[in-house]
Amino acid sequence: MLHLPPRYQRPTGVNAPADFADYKTTSLRHPKQPLKLLPQRLTELTGPVFGEDRVGAGENDLTIANGGEAQGQRIVVHGRVLDGDGKPVPHTLLEVWQANAGGRYRHTGDNWPAPLDPFFNGLGRCVTDANGHYSFTTVKPGAYPWMNHDNAWRPAHIHFSLFGTAFTQRLVTQMYFPDDPMFFQDPIYNAVPEEARHRMVSVFDYDATVPNWALGFRFDIVLRGRNASVFENEEDHDD
């Protein structure tokens, strides 16, 4: 018999409904039967732990690719990865992908008439440091049209993928930019409960701006934490 570590808390008021009619593709891709509860046991409380071993040289800089410099507004995106208890998640892998400055993805499925940038591939990887801090350099992605509704445009965004330390903490999200004029008509952003939407919006960070080089944006990411009642006894669990 086992004594398992504390469970992760299921957040409420955070995630979008699986069926969100304004986002058309959800209609055939959401379960209609109620979800079953999966108690967190060994498989759920453990998870793949990836760090520097998955990151290649230069992968934290998306602005240099194929022997040249990408077009667009150069930006530094940085922040901390924390768990729901406010503790940093150190040495954890972040994977990001995005459109180029003109809003075009380097993908066979993206054919709208904005130019590809020969010097921008649009993928990056980095690892948090001992304090849970990460940083990468890229160009600000453009907005782009999609077929969801009449004259539909996605707000500019960067896709983020994180593992945390347990299967339960896995997160794929999108980082947006402050005051984006496209928010009002975007169902992917607005599918999230109103009180949690701002957690996906980065803030302009003048202190992170590199003079004569790049603007700075800060985006902190919070993964699920352990149960609050257990958190109070956290010091007892250090052994």
């Binding site: 039967q33 649009g122 993928l123 794929v172 999108q174 607005n190 996906m200």
Partner: protein
Amino acid sequence: MTEKPAPIYPVVPGDFTTTPFGVTPSQTVGPYWHIGLPWTDGPDAAPEGADGRITLAITVIDGSRAPISDVMIETWQADALGRFNHPDDPRGVVELTPAGFRGFARSAADSTGTALVNTVKPGALPTESEVEEAPHVNVSVFARGMLDRLVTRLYFPEDTDAHAVDPVLSSLTERERAKLVATKVDGGYSWTVYVQDANADGVETPFFEL
């Protein structure tokens, strides 16, 4: 024919640096995840040539019974002896069996909605009570049109005795249980995940909240 009109949402100001912290919401991987997420060795939870290596062929089908060709499957599981190389496993951190086993796979579907995962069959797992969890693989399904991942489990057809006492399967009806059991095929197992069926007695795969 008119297109669907644009929705209009109120735009709420907010700033995560000045309001209390909360968990970051999930968003869809979208249609372009192939740019950033595939790894050359992604499908290999167990390396080529590993003892007992098998292939899981996981097919994902949508509510119109069409394959989801842009799906990404991730799997996480114990090793052949039911162990994890992880600090939160109270049994301690161990070298995994077979050598080079990673426990995790990430695999892109082909045009038939099928993603391949190369792995080994996991061992059974102890729990906090007398019963064991039958050998299983945790499966995450990511795709355009899914604002959050779907989580389910794959079980193995030969473990009928273990299934009878498995605490997760025991919480399901007999019909639901059967949907989580893969089929033995040459070189491994095949399994179909049906994302949606309006009929409660239909084909929809049981999905879990964690």
